[in-house]
Amino acid sequence: MTGHDAPGDRWLDKDAGPVVRPYALTKGRTTPSGGASFGLIDVVIATGEQPAATFRPSPEHRRIMSLCYGPIPVVDLASEIDLPIGVVRVLLGDLVQAGLLMVRSAPRGPVTDQNLLRTVLHALESL
């Protein structure tokens, strides 16, 4: 992306979104550090702890933390902050490693919890 006449520019319309910049926010990292994984409907929760002294939050880290005043699902956070989900995952990994956030993972396998399923059914019926 050097000049305005680069052949790639015609793909850079508003639908495409920024192509390079998002991963610049993660310094090129495409997977969260520390082995954390964040499913779309996992819920992140602020720990209320002070960050490690070595942690230097970026403006995007701060934006994420400002949305985590209560428990918030990853997909809502990504939607709210308007960054690609992959970028949000990397930034969340940093915040978990820094001790500022924890994640409550939704089940990865088939949903077999009958109580949960009944709760969902009753909720839908109440609409």
């Binding site: 090129g28 939704a106 089940p107």
Partner: protein, 199 residues
């Protein structure tokens, strides 16, 4: 009070249970209409792996780790504060977005396969996918104005869907109809899982 459905954090905020339901079907069958009829639509930016075709078009030189380009998708959210949030994810219809299906399917409660009787073959791929992955699904036939009407059992034969999977007729524009589709899915999942726990 202790509940299976949510935990309490140190701050006292309830952590909601989150569930997701997939809405699949061919391009233009009414997935977005269905999601919009019953839920709040929210935007999400996600990534598409750069295919061989786009290498050389998207300039990736100097961004060694970048293997994707961003694409926009929508999802639906139905909140029941403070304990439950139901998410509806439309699975992308076009083949080039199939890479996203696996992520969407992980941990999903089940799926709605939306079908159009004028282009019934468009939903074969979705049915194959869910049968292969063992994800419970219902087939919802979107009754477009002017489309031929068929009995659910005729549609079952046409789709070669097993007798367990419910087939319902619906109007994807109509909230009460979509509600009926979703409740029939959850009832189906409940009966599937209770059979599993008995065996």
């Amino acid at each position: 009070m202790r509940s299976n459905h949510y935990d309490m954090t140190a701050g006292g905020d309830a952590v909601p249970s989150t569930v997701k339901i997939l809405i699949a079907g061919g391009f233009g069958v009414g997935k977005t209409t269905l999601v919009g009829a019953i839920s709040e639509i929210r935007p999400l930016r996600t990534e598409e792996p750069l295919s061989d075709r786009s290498v050389g078009i998207d300039d990736t030189s100097g961004v060694g780790a970048k293997m994707t380009t961003t694409v926009a998708m929508d999802f639906g959210r139905i909140s029941f504060p403070p304990h439950l949030v139901i998410y509806l994810f439309g699975t992308p219809g076009q083949e080039r977005f199939w890479f996203m299906w696996d992520e969407l399917a992980i941990g999903a409660v089940g799926a709605v396969v939306l079908a159009d009787t004028r282009r019934i073959a468009d939903c074969f791929a979705a049915i194959d996918y869910f049968e292969r992955n063992g994800l419970p699904f219902v087939v919802a036939v979107n009754c477009f104005d002017g489309a031929p009407r068929f009995e659910p059992e005729d549609i079952r034969i046409a789709l070669a869907v097993s007798p367990e999977a419910p087939i319902v007729l619906c109007d994807a524009r109509c909230r009460s109809s979509v509600k009926q589709v979703l409740t029939s899915l959850i009832r189906h999942v409940l009966s599937t899982t209770s059979e599993l726990s008995r065996n």
